[in-house]
Symmetry: C2
Subunit: 292 residues, 2 copies
């Protein structure tokens, strides 16, 4: 009977092994899939930032414009790495974790099969026991029952042995896979962080080197005109003598303002469209490279 | 009149400067806030993974248990860095970006003030023009109008100069702040990636060193019992002579199974609760350290 007892304890451990795998692999799969999706969302947000940076850069003077565009390029590079990270997490971590679902189902089926064999053994044992109570002297019938018990026990022993081998193999595979999957997870993250660190460092140095003084001079030259009071007075003294001049000037103020506005609106729309195309082309080219 | 023309072009540039700042700082603020929130969500997901890893580790044999718990600790450390990253992004990037909202509003008000002064100048010019058409010989009234034009022009020149200085200062501050905010953004990211890389590398090495062979031996010793057919037969031969033994055994099978189940369920719940506490304490301690 010690065999039945220790066999039950043994099978209990095996059942726990499979149940735990089911529970925790399920949790790992779902949390890692979610982690991957959130990483993809972070990539998308940073992509938006890249787009805004390029748009904004186009409204600034040369030094800052170049610096911001360079930074946008570096940030886009990091998003390409992040995209590769997302794809690798899916392929190397989430999918292998997911595939455990059907493997665990198989093991459950084998345990179920074992349990039915074990129940038959217990039933035969109970039958034998009853016979010994009711007909202790009927050696023939008891001997038959003993033989059935023995047969059921041999079956149970064989199935236990099979199950033992199956679960042993499952456990070995499982812990190897866990080590492999999390090693892959850590590798994917390491690669991403190493590359990002490099690119961020580059971007930082470039941004530091940007000479804002030049841009300020550029800006000043655009908004500054000579408007001292003497200039205003002398200009008025010469102009006040002619009506025609005032009228012509008054008209040209309006048309200049209109033209000015039109030009600026057009160039802004154009530059935005160009950026979009450049940006998409850039991303597609980068992804194509990554896929190779 | 050239003054009015170039002044309009000049103010147009200043208006564009403020409008662009409003548009792009608004976009930066919203996309960076969203980027920060998504980073926080990634931290939360990784925190979940840490929790599951510890729970799962507690169901495994010593080598893998230790390896997974160490890895969970390292992952938790990275989430503490990520938490610091989130806080720094808010403090050093999103909030300064946000504060530009009211600054831009002030600049808009100054441009509006300038425009009203400029409109007064144009009105005075138009008035003078009309008078010269209607009463070209009334020197007194024309002289009065000329004096009003001159006064309005001086006002406009002064306001232009003020606006010029204000916008010059705004632009200088703005490009400095852009450089500062994005340098801070890059620094926060660099620090996070550098630390993460270090910790992930550690975690990877630890996981590689884990000796799974030992765990497999441990597991085998738990699920393996001697169940050769000879053992089964010899055990039956000695036991079949006593009814009492069978009965007692049969009862003990049931009670042992029940006890076994209870113990396992209890210990599982306990270990889960303990982990929760450990985990929370750990996080709280870590955050407290970070806050110091």
């Amino acid at each position: 009977m010690n065999i039945v007892l220790s066999r039950d304890a043994q099978v209990k451990i095996m059942e726990m092994t499979v149940s735990n795998a089911e529970k925790y692999f399920g949790q790992f799969c779902s949390v890692l899939a979610s982690y991957t999706r959130k990483t993809a969302k972070l990539r998308d947000k940073a992509d938006e930032l890249v787009k805004y940076l390029i748009d904004f850069a186009n409204t600034e003077n040369p030094e800052l414009r170049t610096a911001l565009k360079n930074m946008a390029d570096e940030l886009a590079k990091i998003q390409d790495y992040r995209h590769a990270q997302v794809e690798r997490l899916e392929t190397k971590v989430v999918n292998p974790m997911k595939s455990y679902g059907s493997l665990i189902k198989d093991k459950r089926a084998e345990i179920k099969k074992f349990n039915s064999v074990r129940n038959r053994e217990i039933k035969e044992l109970e039958k034998l026991e009853k016979l010994r109570h009711r007909a202790p002297s009927d050696r023939h019938i008891i001997s038959q029952a003993e033989s059935s018990v023995q047969k059921a026990s041999v079956d149970a022993a064989r199935t236990t042995h099979q199950l033992e081998e199956t679960i042993d193999h499952f456990q070995m595979q499982k812990i190897k896979d866990i080590q492999k999957m999390f090693s892959d997870f850590l590798t994917v993250e390491m690669i991403f962080h190493a590359r990002s660190l490099e690119v961020f460092t580059n971007a930082f140095q470039n941004l530091q080197e940007c000479d804002l003084g030049k841009d300020i001079e550029d800006f000043r030259s655009k908004i500054h005109i000579k408007t001292s009071n003497e200039d205003v007075r002398s200009l008025q003294a010469t102009n006040l003598s002619s009506n025609a001049t005032w009228q012509a000037s008054s008209m040209s103020v309006q048309s200049t303002l209109q033209r000015h506005q039109e030009v600026e609106e057009d160039s802004f729309e154009e530059s935005e469209e160009e950026d979009d195309d450049d940006y998409e082309d850039h991303r597609r080219a980068e992804y194509a490279t990554l896929r190779k």
